[in-house]
């Protein structure tokens, strides 16, 4: 029987991936038809019983019947055939081999002691634990392990002796300020190096911005800039430059050490950027991808698409240009000619916002360049105070240098784009509140609104049914319905009233 079984297995296996049959199966002969009939009948009976019982009955029988045949010299390592809970009893009709315990192999070995395998050949049960789902404690432990491994990787292969970063961000309060600043804040929170974030706010420091910066947990220096942000893009770019210089003045006064990076709140930064800028010596330049979008969805964009397809522009990039030996030879700047007629003038125009020729965001400086008196300051950098006093229009940090050839190209000589420039602003009359306050967060409102609600439901559903007085429809209409109405109305009034001061503030800011 075993031979025929094994032959069944052989043919099954052979049919699937090996074409020639086994040569050594010459031992099997045609078994008697009576025996085969008997086995078919027995098999059918077992199948019926399995159908009724709901589990694979034949396996159990064979195990019990044939396990008594084994000799005692074998070492047992039988895995108990655990019954799988899924209902698969009805499907398979093949005879299963019981766990075959290895007997003494026909051995022409020299040593008499039978070294039979401890591990059993044959069908084993599939072990499933009672609750085969993830355990949250294990998941947390695994995450801690992963964190430790990644920290070690960073120590081994990452930047050695990382310098602290100084991030300069000009901002002002507006509808999309929270949106942009939150994105930038989360990027900075993920940076693994020491960080000082200098935020210069036009129109003076405000509580909203301060609250946002406090949530980050980073070391921030919040500076107010007295003038308000103008409404044209040209003027805004110039003002942002002056705000950045104001931040550089803070770096100079406080003698902050590290690498200065200009992160505008509309831009998107990748994490590799912060690893890359650690390699700058004095001043470095990066490639910035320009996401100049069009405000108008239908016609201007289709025109632009056609133009872009013709000129085959994948993504406009500003940054250093290198020759084949990796030296800086020039600059890629944004070609604004196709867009000049359609560019936006006012901040809330629905048109394309153009960047300057070279954005500040694509440059990183060693903070020692802006310090006042240090011994090994390079000759090619101009003094910051003199520049500000002269009131020249500095459109990029290159104006700080006498000689622009000392700029180091970063990011594989500008071939890797590590940050993207984008300016998106809302319409001037938008009333996006600076923060969403869910009214339950105010504890006062809990007492004010919820307590009457609970009282009301308590009376209606618990006290009244329990009391002996049979209340009828009129009672319900007169007393409970008005009360219900009042509660609901005051709920909505409270919601609206919470926003009322904010709305007024926004409209007149």
């Amino acid at each position: 029987m075993k031979l025929s079984q094994q032959q069944n297995c052989n043919t099954r296996r052979n049919n699937s991936f090996r074409t020639t049959g086994p040569l050594d199966s010459s031992v099997d002969s045609a078994f008697k038809p009576l025996a085969s009939f008997f086995w078919v009948v027995l098999h059918g009976l077992c199948c019926l019983i399995s159908l009724v019982l709901g589990f694979r009955f034949s396996r159990l029988i064979f195990f019990l019947l044939f396990s008594t045949n084994t000799t005692s010299t074998t070492n047992h390592y039988t895995v108990p055939a655990l019954l799988r809970t899924t209902s698969d009893a009805t499907q398979t009709l093949t005879l299963q081999t019981p766990p075959v315990l290895i007997t003494d192999t026909p051995s022409n070995r020299t040593n008499p002691a039978t070294t039979s395998s401890r591990v059993v050949v044959g069908r084993h049960g599939i072990l499933i634990r009672p609750w085969p789902h993830p355990n949250p404690i294990e998941v947390m432990k695994a995450h801690r392990i992963i964190e430790r491994v990644q920290r070690e990787q960073r120590l081994q292969y990452g930047v050695k002796n990382p310098r602290p970063l100084i991030i300069v961000t000009p901002t002002y309060i507006r509808t999309f300020q929270t949106l942009h600043l939150t994105g930038l804040m989360h990027s900075l929170m993920l940076v693994p190096y020491d960080l000082t974030w200098i935020v210069v706010e036009a129109g003076g420091t405000t509580k909203e911005t301060a609250a946002l910066l406090e949530k980050s947990g980073l070391r921030t220096i919040h500076i107010g800039f007295e003038e308000r942000m103008p409404i044209t893009w040209e003027a805004r770019h110039r003002m942002e430059t002056r705000m950045r210089l104001r931040a550089l003045r803070v770096v100079r006064e406080q003698r902050l050490d590290g690498i200065v990076m200009f992160a505008d709140d509309g831009n998107t930064h990748s994490m590799e950027l912060f690893d890359e800028i650690q390699s700058v010596k004095w001043i470095g330049a990066l490639s910035v991808g320009i996401l100049a979008h069009s405000g108008n969805s239908d016609e201007s964009s289709s025109l632009l698409q056609k133009q872009e397809d013709e000129e085959n522009l994948p993504l406009p990039v500003q940054g250093p240009a290198c020759n084949s030996s990796g030296q800086l030879v020039g600059w890629h700047t944004f070609n604004s000619l196709p867009y000049v007629e359609k560019s936006a003038t006012y901040i809330d125009d629905r048109a394309i916002v153009l960047p300057r020729k070279l954005e500040w965001a694509g440059f990183v400086l060693n903070s020692k360049l802006v310090w006042k008196d240090i011994e090994d300051k390079p000759e090619w950098v101009k003094d910051l105070d003199k520049l500000v006093a002269d009131e020249e229009d500095l459109d990029s940090p290159l104006s700080l240098l006498e000689d622009t050839s000392v700029v180091e190209p970063l990011g594989n000589c500008g071939r890797k784009i590590l940050l993207w420039w984008l300016r998106v602003e809302a319409r001037a009359d938008s009333k996006f509140p600076p923060g969403l306050v869910f009214f339950f967060s105010n504890s006062f409102s809990v007492v004010y609104i919820l307590l009457p609600c609970y009282l009301y439901f308590f009376v209606l559903y618990i006290l009244l049914p329990l009391s002996d007085t049979g209340y009828d429809q009129r009672y319900y209409m007169f007393f409970l319905f008005p009360w219900h109405f009042l509660v609901v109305i005051s709920f909505y009034l409270h919601l609206m009233s919470d926003d009322l001061p904010e709305c007024i503030h926004m409209a007149y800011s």
């Binding site: 991936f17 040569l23 081999t97 395998s117 069908r123 993830p134 695994a142 392990i145 960073r154 990452g158």
Partner: protein
């Protein structure tokens, strides 16, 4: 000449201080990797040249070249070690053309090169081929009869080694080819207390193409974010649809217990980023399949992913030279449902140490079969293993007239000439 005691004292005290000092400096440089000290000492970097001599029999090309010409796929599948070993020995400094001074004799028979259209080797003719080769060498050279093969070695990288069958029950039934009873077998299969692993065999890793793996390396500072990674079959639907037979139910158990666990990135897909994903994983599962060994071990070692070996009683490659217990994680098949508990309860220092051991370049070299051969690679480890078995014991050379092997033993089908 009597050496004054103070000179001796200086030597004894000062020289170790020197050595320790140098050792301390080296420690700083090697914080990224750790030296691998196996049970036989630091043997991975041993040079076998000069320690042994190998004579390669010149067999007619029907045993090797013609078989390879019929099917070139034999050079890239995981059993290609036998072909590359032959090529290495032909041009190696350990080769000697004088058989009288040879310590070991090598017979180049490509027994795993008869492939199906799918690429799987058929072992049905291999016993006859091996037998015919042995008859040839015993009749043309006196060295086989001198020792009945005890100083000969053969490379048999198939599923169950010299048992020459892909099915375990059949392989156990056949046992090791009787004529190879006294020879040293260099095979990939290794399982303790198994008929097909003879004592004194050398276990080698399966062949993995070195250039292909080198081409998929990613920068080492890419953070490892996958906890456990595995790609392969859990149920061999063609041969064992219900499960329980394939991999002794261990792979099916892994699937059933962990298919919805976010830490376990396991599936049956064949992604093109398989090698890159392994480099982003902390643990790589290496469960048994139809045979306990698998190329995943080699891939895990090359890509720095800690191998989790789920195969009871397995004997891993070069087990006497590489301390696998310190490098990989061994999980018993009955403990598979608790795999997540086992892996998360390993202390982080132990995990970091294992990764440092895996980063050691000599470890990676020892698992590969590069062309041309490089120092410390798997070819040299095989020769080291052979050199460690020298000098030959007392029973190697037979007295004249003594016969041990039974040339007519084995199934009748094997005795047909090839």
């Amino acid at each position: 000449m009597k050496i004054p005691i103070w000179v001796l004292f200086n030597f004894v005290v000062i020289t170790p201080a020197f050595v320790l000092g140098i050792g301390a400096e080296k420690l700083d440089q090697s914080q990224r990797t750790e030296r691998i000290s196996g049970s036989a000492g630091d043997v991975l970097e041993d040079d076998p040249v000069g320690r042994l001599k190998v004579f390669v029999y010149e067999l007619p090309s029907k045993y090797n070249k013609k078989i390879l010409q019929k099917d070139q796929r034999c050079l890239t599948h995981m059993f290609a070690a036998e072909i590359f070993m032959h090529r290495f020995l032909l041009s190696s400094p350990v080769r000697t053309l004088n058989p009288e001074e040879a310590d070991w004799f090598y017979t180049p028979v490509y027994s795993t090169c008869d492939l199906t259209p799918n690429g799987l080797p058929l072992p049905f003719k291999s016993p006859r081929m091996m037998r015919s080769a042995i008859q040839l060498i015993s009749s043309n050279w006196p060295y086989w009869n001198r020792s009945e093969g005890a100083d000969h070695f053969f490379v048999v990288p198939h599923d169950f080694g010299a048992c020459f069958h892909y099915q375990e029950e059949k392989a156990i039934e056949r046992g090791i080819l009787p004529l190879l009873q006294r020879a040293t077998l260099v095979q990939t299969f290794g399982q303790r207390n198994h008929v097909c692993l003879k004592e004194g065999s050398i276990t080698i890793p399966p062949y993995a193409p070195p250039q292909k793996m080198q081409a998929h390396l990613i920068p080492p500072d890419t953070p490892r974010s996958i906890f456990v990674y595995f790609r392969g079959l859990f149920y061999d639907v063609g041969n064992d649809p219900e499960g329980g037979y394939y991999a002794r139910g261990a792979r099916a158990s892994v699937w059933e217990n962990f298919k919805d666990n976010p830490l376990f990135d396991i599936s049956t897909e064949h992604p093109t980023t398989y090698y890159e994903d392994m480099q982003r994983a902390v643990f790589c599962l290496c469960p048994l399949g139809w045979a306990p060994w698998s190329p995943r071990l080699v891939e895990g070692v090359i890509f720095g992913c800690i191998p989790v070996i789920i195969a009871d009683d397995i004997v891993l490659p070069f087990a006497d030279a590489i301390p696998w217990e310190e490098i990989g994680v061994f999980v018993a098949e009955k403990d598979v449902p608790n795999l997540d508990t086992i892996l998360t309860s390993i202390p982080p220092e132990v995990i970091l140490r294992k990764q440092r051991l895996l980063a050691n370049p000599s470890m990676k070299q020892a698992m590969l079969f590069p062309q041309p051969a490089q120092p410390g690679d798997a070819f040299h480890q095989i020769l080291n293993g052979l050199a460690r078995k020298l000098p030959h014991g007392k029973g190697t050379y037979l007295k004249p007239g003594e016969k041990i092997l039974n040339w007519t033993a084995g199934p009748v089908g094997d005795l047909k000439p090839w």
